[in-house]
Structure formats: C-alpha cells, structure tokens
Subunit: 168 residues, 2 copies
C-alpha cells in the first residue's frame, strides 16, 4: 500500500530514517461499516453517522471505569495503511501543493487519527460511539474524555509528564 | 521516573508486554515556560496562557506550508516522562479509583498528549501557539488543522487509510 501510492504534481517526500523514537501498543481495534479506504466518509458525523465500536483488549478493560460520565470522547487511532514520508500533498490536483501539517490527511509522519465522538453505549469490552471515519480494523490507541466535559480532579501528584490529572 | 512512581490506594496496573505494535518519529519538540511537571497548569489556556513554541525539525519544514490559514490547531505530543501501565488511578485520593480512559492523565498506555491551541505566529521552524500545558522539551508528534476550520479539499485519491483529505 505504501510503496505503490501514486504521486501527484508538486508533491514532495521527506528523506527520513525509519521511525524509532518511541513505541505504541494497540489497546484494541475499531469496528466501522467501512471496509475499504475509499468508502470512508471525509469527516465523521457524531449526530447522523452510523454506530461504530471501540473494542478494548482484555488487559485494559478496567481502564474504562467511569467512561460513561462523558457525552463526548476524543479517540486516537493508528492509520496503519498510510505512507508517512509525504510532506507536500496535492489533494485537489491544483497548481500548488499543501503542507502535510495544514491537512488532516492520514498521510503524515505519525499517522495518528483523532476523532471527537458521541458516546452511545458501553457494555463489557465494547464502547459504541458515533463520529468515526476510519476503516474497520483500525488499531485503537487511546480514549480520553472530551476536554469540554472534563474537570481535573486534582493536581498534587508529581511523577507524570504534567500532574496526572492534567495532560493532553 | 517511571519506576519510582508512588502508587495510591485502589490503583491498579496492567500486566502487559512492552509496546512494539508501531513506532513513532519525533518531528520536533515543544518549548514552554515549565521545566518541571509539577509547575505545569492542569489545562492549557488558548486565550490567557503564555506563548509556547513548536520547534519543527528540518526534514519536516515544508510540511508547515499553509498552516497559517487556521486560527486553531490540534497538537499531538509524546509525554515521555509518563509510566504506561496504570489502568485504575486515584487522582483525588478518594475511596475509589477511576479508569485511565475516563481521565486525561498523562499516565496511559500510549502517553500521547492532545491540546487545542491558538496560532499566534509562524517563522521558519518555529510555530508560536497558546494553549499548551506540557513541560519544555516534550517531543512533538503532529500538527493538524482544527477540524472546526477545516474543509477537506477532495476525496478522490485511494491509497490512504481513508481518503488523503479525510482522516483523523
């Protein structure tokens, strides 16, 4: 998939080393109605979009405790089909190209997808949400309460990157 | 930092393998006024917070092209000081604990921070923003236009996880 990606006029790749700075663990996977990239919607719809499932792997199930307090969640996932070396992209086939960081394209140095979703339900290892746009089978990286709903419980423990209740 | 983190009552760790599912590349680093985790604010403030800098590494500089079209950006960063195995946390020292996925704590299986920031300026490899809350020196992972401002240019290229203009 990565190697036979067609380049367009004015696009540019970066000559970079393999990614080795930090490593991710998949906490589960995502189930959506879309099995091919070309069938995915351009942007998720948290109101009228279809129900999708976050399927969480067993070691992390207790980490879902309390998730149902939040109407909206931020979901991070790994867009595993994307090439990573494109720094200028020409999505509209125009006369110029756009920088990768000015696009929400899945083609980026770290292909981490971010969707804000509405929580529909939670049972066992399945969290049902609306607002996703990725293919079924996409690896799941993180679930966070939407910051709009979230008030940090405290800030008095040292040891994290910031206080444990703060953070991104 | 990870090993000597103090545990609190009712907290729980997961017995998991080292993270090896996918690898990240640091695209630069973040400069903020805060050098110690305990000095960081609980939540970033995109209006009254201090100016911070996203310092982008040379291979990725062309990828900033067009970034100044967006008043707000989503920033992803790697909270490199965080332990990753805590699945129940007790931030308020209460009688119970909360699931990691119901907190925005930096302690999580994949310690990826997410901040929505206001773009103040861009010159060369430095993007000045407001709304961050991490320590200075935090590795930078990604810069995306805020979805509120972003309209995908097109959707007709196959090859990405979703169409190149969609995605998370």
């Amino acid at each position: 998939m990565t190697e036979d990606f067609p380049m367009r006029p004015n696009e540019m790749t970066a000559d970079v080393m393999p990614a080795t700075d930090a490593s991710l663990t998949y906490i589960g996977h995502i189930e959506t109605p879309w099995t091919r990239p070309e069938d995915c919607p351009r942007q998720g719809d948290s109101v009228a979009g279809p129900d999708c499932a976050l399927v969480v792997a067993p070691p992390w199930l207790p980490a879902l405790t309390g998730i149902d307090a939040y109407p909206f969640l931020d979901i991070l996932y790994w867009m595993h089909l994307s090439r990573r070396d494109l720094i200028l992209q020409n999505p509209d086939h125009g006369d110029a190209a756009r920088g990768t960081f000015s696009l929400r394209s899945p083609i980026r140095p770290n292909p981490i997808g971010l969707s804000n979703v509405r929580l529909i339900g939670w049972a066992g290892n399945r969290v049902t949400v609306r607002g996703l746009e990725c293919v079924s089978g996409t690896p799941l990286l993180d679930i966070k309460p939407d910051r709009r709903h979230f008030t940090p419980p405290s800030r008095d423990r040292a040891g994290g990157q910031t206080s444990p209740e703060a953070g991104g």
